[in-house]
């Protein structure tokens, strides 16, 4: 078989089980692509020796009933702690950090037989929507239409770029406000954020703990189902991890969505939304109808308050979570001057170790939690969050099975183009995705078409809590109707 790196998880799994190829061959194909893709800056810590060792072990245990991801080479976002392998959340403050333990999600993947090719670029501490806040430099979108280098989105930008460029079969991402779904949309791949609590957060470097969820970034909906199933599961080490059986997500992919009620939220029709996004959404509605679903106009009245709510809650939680980076137990410590005490050590270490966006968010979070502002900002945001969740509960109570929206307000933009914009302009990238995190719901981005310039655009489906099976099946029907097969042509 040729071009093994271009396979998806399902195809590669089937080929391995039939003995048509080996994990070592798949892994070597990916490693060689990674070597030739430095221009994308997607992989930032390569682990070829570990990968080949895991691949040989997978080949040795290959059989018809081998575990679900046996021998399949993946990329892992740098946010996941991987034992003995650099894990630094794309931050200078974790330079040199090698965890002494394995995150639950990566352990689950390894238990399912997966092979790790290396760690993937991202926005620093997952704070960003363009992969431009990384200490490793920008990750680059494999899609290109002119001289400009385009963003792969963020924060899981390296994961998106690596999957879209076929450097790996699939990758892990994490999503706090859209960090799986937005980059997936901008690179023409599939990405799902499961219900809050499906995946253990243990060993995933924390950004905003009440919003963070891990999920797969893949070449198809079927691959997303296979990989999500392996990632999920109850974990006593994460008290918010839910003790529910993990369904067979792949078995749910029948493509039959007849009679399903798909909500179309009127508040997602934003002022100044590009016509192309509007058109894509209209096409998506036709596709769902064509597949037998019934469209229902719905209202989610608090949608416009989701981003401001997010930009109180996420920085507040981040300021608390990132307090641990103080130069004492791990990571970077600033060089101190004569007479510097512990406070100077903290202040200098954090000033040197955190990039601008992380510093900004930690300080905004500190402010909204400080005495005198806690009620006006933080508590008010938590109340609005209750209302945002209730909006969804109300429409689900009316019998809505899923909600269809655009995934992003635009196609990929040029790296550096937002450099002079104020921070809020960048935050608007997450306008369609962030409500889902605030409400703890599952959401999936499916590539659905190209814009006039030939860049990929995605549609988002939002599901009921814990009903990823149904959501994946809706996405499977959408994927089938969209028939998106375009790939970026190789320039790197």
């Amino acid at each position: 078989m040729s071009d093994l790196n271009k396979l998806g998880l399902a195809e590669a799994r089937d080929a391995l089980r039939k003995g048509e190829t080996t994990s070592v061959a798949l892994t070597e194909a990916c490693l060689s692509e990674i070597d030739g893709a430095g221009a994308l800056n997607a992989f930032v810590h390569n682990t070829p020796d570990l990968a080949l060792e895991q691949a040989k072990a997978a080949d040795a245990r290959m059989s018809a009933d081998a575990p679900s991801l046996n021998g399949l080479p993946l990329g892992i976002k740098d946010l996941f702690c991987t034992k003995g392998v650099a894990s630094q959340a794309a931050s200078r403050i974790l330079e040199g950090f090698k965890p002494q333990y394995e995150s639950t999600v990566t352990q689950n993947l390894f238990d399912a037989g997966a092979v790790m090719l290396g760690k993937l670029n991202m926005d620093e501490f997952a704070m960003g929507s363009s992969n431009e806040t990384s200490v490793y430099g920008d990750a680059v979108n494999p899609w290109k239409i002119d001289d400009r280098k385009l963003t792969p989105g963020g924060s899981s930008g390296g994961s998106a770029a690596a999957v879209a460029a076929d450097l790996c079969l699939a990758a892990t991402g994490t999503d706090t406000g859209g960090s799986i779904r937005q980059p997936a949309a901008l690179t023409g791949i599939t990405g799902i954020k499961p219900t809050y609590g499906r995946c253990s957060r243990w060993g995933i470097i924390a950004f905003a703990s009440s919003l963070d969820q891990a999920g797969p970034m893949t070449k198809s909906v079927r691959d997303a189902a296979i990989m999500l199933e392996a990632m999920c599961g109850h974990d006593p080490k994460d008290s918010t991890s839910v003790d529910l059986a993990v369904p067979d997500f792949e078995a749910a992919l029948t493509g039959d969505i007849k009679g399903k009620k798909i909500g179309i939220p009127r508040e997602y029709r934003m002022d100044g939304m590009p016509q192309e996004i509007e058109d894509l959404w209209a096409k998506g509605r036709e596709m769902m109808q064509d597949a037998g679903a019934e469209l229902v106009d719905i209202s989610l009245p608090h949608t416009k308050y989701a981003l401001p709510t997010y930009y109180v809650i996420a920085p507040a939680e981040a300021s608390s979570n990132l307090a641990r980076y103080d130069g004492v137990r791990f990571g970077h410590r600033a060089k101190l001057d004569q007479g510097d005490g512990i406070t100077e050590m903290y202040e200098k270490t954090r000033a040197e170790g955190f990039g601008d966006e992380v510093q900004r968010r930690v300080m905004v979070g500190t402010y909204v939690l400080s005495a005198g502002f806690y009620d006006a900002y933080y508590n008010r945001a938590r109340k609005v969050r209750t209302l945002i969740k209730k909006d969804f509960e109300d429409v689900f109570a009316q019998g809505i099975d899923g909600i269809l929206t655009p995934a992003t307000p635009s196609a990929a933009f040029g790296l550096g183009e937002m450099a002079d914009a104020d921070p809020v302009q960048m935050y608007l990238n997450d306008v369609f995705t962030v409500t889902v995190n605030l409400a703890g719901l599952p959401g999936i981005s499916v590539p659905a078409g190209l814009d006039a310039n030939g860049l990929p655009l995605g549609l988002q489906l939002i599901g009921r809590p814990w009903e990823e099976s149904d959501l994946l099946n809706l996405a499977y029907a959408l994927e089938d109707r969209a028939g998106f097969v375009a790939k970026p042509s190789k320039w790197w």
Binding site: G197, T240, P308, D326, R333, M363, Y367, R385, K389
Partner: protein, 95 residues
């Protein structure tokens, strides 16, 4: 509401991030942009609304109150910037 440089300096201090004097005006301006954006939450009627404490309605699990882990001194110290004699080492804290 508007954040001045003195408030920006205070927030930086609380966050334990050193910000040079000449950076403070720009930082205050960024805060004002973000807080101006957040300000729209004031429009929402939140009377009698409970602040969210958990997005999924679940009771935290309980477990036996017993030691489940430990004796990992070398693993705990393995990533320390400065570890001596089995401890994390820091600059002098008490004068």
């Amino acid at each position: 509401m508007s954040i001045d440089t003195a408030t920006a300096a205070k927030v930086a201090k609380l966050a334990r991030i050193r910000v040079e004097e000449d950076r403070l005006p720009a930082l205050a301006e960024e805060f004002n942009t973000i807080l101006g954006f957040i300000e729209q939450l004031g429009e929402v009627d939140v009377d009698n609304v409970e602040p969210m404490t958990s997005v999924t309605p679940q009771r935290l699990k309980r477990r036996e109150d017993v030691v489940t882990d430990g004796n990992q001194q070398s693993a705990v110290l393995a990533n320390a910037p400065d570890a001596r004699e089995g401890f994390f080492a820091v600059p002098k804290v008490v004068e």
